[in-house]
Symmetry: C2
Subunit: 335 residues, 2 copies
């Protein structure tokens, strides 16, 4: 995935969203991209290379896009909004770098990870720097409110990681606890992205909260569908092999649901799933129970809830359309 | 080192400082201690155990003490000041946890590290959480100015770590580059601690800057003396073996100075120093050149500069005395 072209970092499927939201969105996204590249460069060649690669490998810029869409119309002075969008993506990038240390992952979206290129020392420090720069970026032009939103989200991210380690290999984990893990690991940063956009646009508290609720649900659905993709197999999309979560001992909704429907699956000790081939076989057995369709349906229901969170808000038509489209794009990732 | 007693976390040598600064200082330090324990506890038993241990092992609470001393007299509402003091110590603790991952260190001040107890996954996530909580703590009651100061310092910390990795094993590193590394790795957080105290006290910009300059120099001297201690050998104080830096490939001022004085030392490839016994022998050879006394003298000169940075400031006598004493305590660590 390259970041060149008229809409840097934004996948083709997101183009419709950008069209709905207005011409300022691709321009601001391009500014965010420039700012991220600048930040990667201002810390010497070592960080420039590694952080730059990570930021570039970060993907579709969904979180900065949410910041811009939550803000609505183009601000007269876009500096605060841009800082919010960059800060959210920096926190996301920091998490990716640290995740790769945790998972000892060699590739992310087809590119070598910082961990693989420079070892865990470099990866831990690079993640720390991206983290710190996120707050520096926000503090330079933002408000204490926006720092509050971002720090809550980044605390949640780390807590989610801890929860995931704590629950690893426990196939019998409760669905509520799984959902809470998804909220911490993924949804809270989506929530913060939407809150930050609304805060930068000067919206009142109830408006900020409603957009936050939209983002939270969207993030939850995003994680659920991500977990479905891992089992359904879409390596070319996720850059991972089918059943990676199972090999990591990460118990997700498809397995939780399949264990209720198939006693033989419920009896499996995840430690026995040791080879990619065994993981693929378990994925097929999970799929055969109908658990994937069920998990997908749960995710879609949460996307509906996300849209409903915006129902009472007064939004311009084009902003509402853009937010609806971004919600739909989360669902369409399996296509 | 336990944190019990009337002045929790404050070593006996710091008692004189506290006496000079006023009765409110030990009381506020006790509140900081409580707050840190609370934060460690609010994230479940897993973090409670690991983060709590790290925070407890963090040592003398020098950085929170600097925050309180830089603020001067007791504020009517101490919440912002307490948040600043806790935030600085949380960033410091986060760095310690991540450092232990980098160094694969089993012990810190005689206690098992998070890395040793829970593995690198847990340690990376625990550090991330402590980091995030630092900013959350500050953002809850602080100002955007204080977030700015802390995020600058935490960016510097990570950059310093990267610089150290980049320069590892390079015995011919320039002294300026070594000093810059010390500034990034250590001094900037001391600077931020002093700035934060002055900001919380509502001081004007020049006053904040002067206290920051004091803290920066103090931190620089602290790191130089730390590096001297590593070579002079004071394992019972630092909890490390003599020559640990040499075994890690970390080139510090004593080696840099000794290489100028002894061609045989200059000819050594650090990769050849592979056993603790070899490290101790090299420490003895470095000491024999007089490089330790020289490095110590440089550190003392920087402490003098630190005090001079306060010369033009209008401070109450007891605040100036307390700051002078804390500067002297940095020097006295070798005693």
């Amino acid at each position: 995935m390259t970041n060149a072209g008229p809409m840097p970092g934004v996948a083709a499927s997101v183009a419709a969203i950008v069209r709905a939201a207005g011409e300022h969105v691709p321009l601001l996204l391009a500014s965010v991209e420039l700012r991220l590249a600048e930040i990667a460069q201002t810390h010497g060649p070592l960080l420039g290379r590694h952080a730059g690669d990570t930021i570039a490998a970060g993907g579709k810029r969904l979180r900065p896009l949410l910041v811009l869409l939550a803000a609505g119309r183009e601000p007269d002075d876009p500096r605060e909004l841009l800082a919010c969008a960059a800060a959210v993506e920096l926190v996301h990038s920091a998490t990716l770098v640290h995740d790769d240390v945790l998972d000892s992952a060699a590739l992310r979206r087809g590119l070598p990870t910082v961990w693989a290129q420079g070892g865990r020392e470099l990866a831990v420090a690079t993640g720390d720097l991206l983290f710190s720069r996120a707050f520096a970026e926000l503090a330079a032009v933002g408000t204490i409110k926006s720092v509050r939103a971002l720090s809550r989200a980044s605390s949640a991210l780390a807590e989610g990681e801890l929860l995931q380690r704590e629950d690893a290999w426990i196939a019998a984990v409760a669905v509520e606890r799984y959902l809470y893990r998804c909220e911490l690991k993924t949804a809270r940063l989506f929530e913060a992205a939407c809150e930050l956009g609304a805060i930068a646009a000067g919206e009142h508290e109830a408006h900020v909260a409603a957009l936050g609720a939209f983002g939270l649900r969207l993030g939850l659905a995003f994680q659920l569908l991500d977990d479905v993709l891992d089992v359904s197999g879409a390596a070319q999309q996720t850059g991972k092999h089918r059943g990676t979560d199972l090999l990591d001992g990460t118990v997700t909704l498809p397995l939780i649901l399949a264990r209720r429907r198939d006693e033989a699956i419920a009896a499996i000790d995840l430690h026995e799933i040791a080879t990619p081939q065994q993981a693929i076989q378990l994925c097929e057995r999970i799929e055969a129970t109908g658990a994937l369709a069920d998990a997908r349906a749960q995710a879609l229901a949460i996307v509906v809830e996300a849209k409903e969170a915006l129902a009472a808000l007064e939004l311009e038509d084009r902003q509402r359309l853009a937010l609806d489209l971004v919600a739909d794009s989360v669902v369409d990732r399996r296509a």
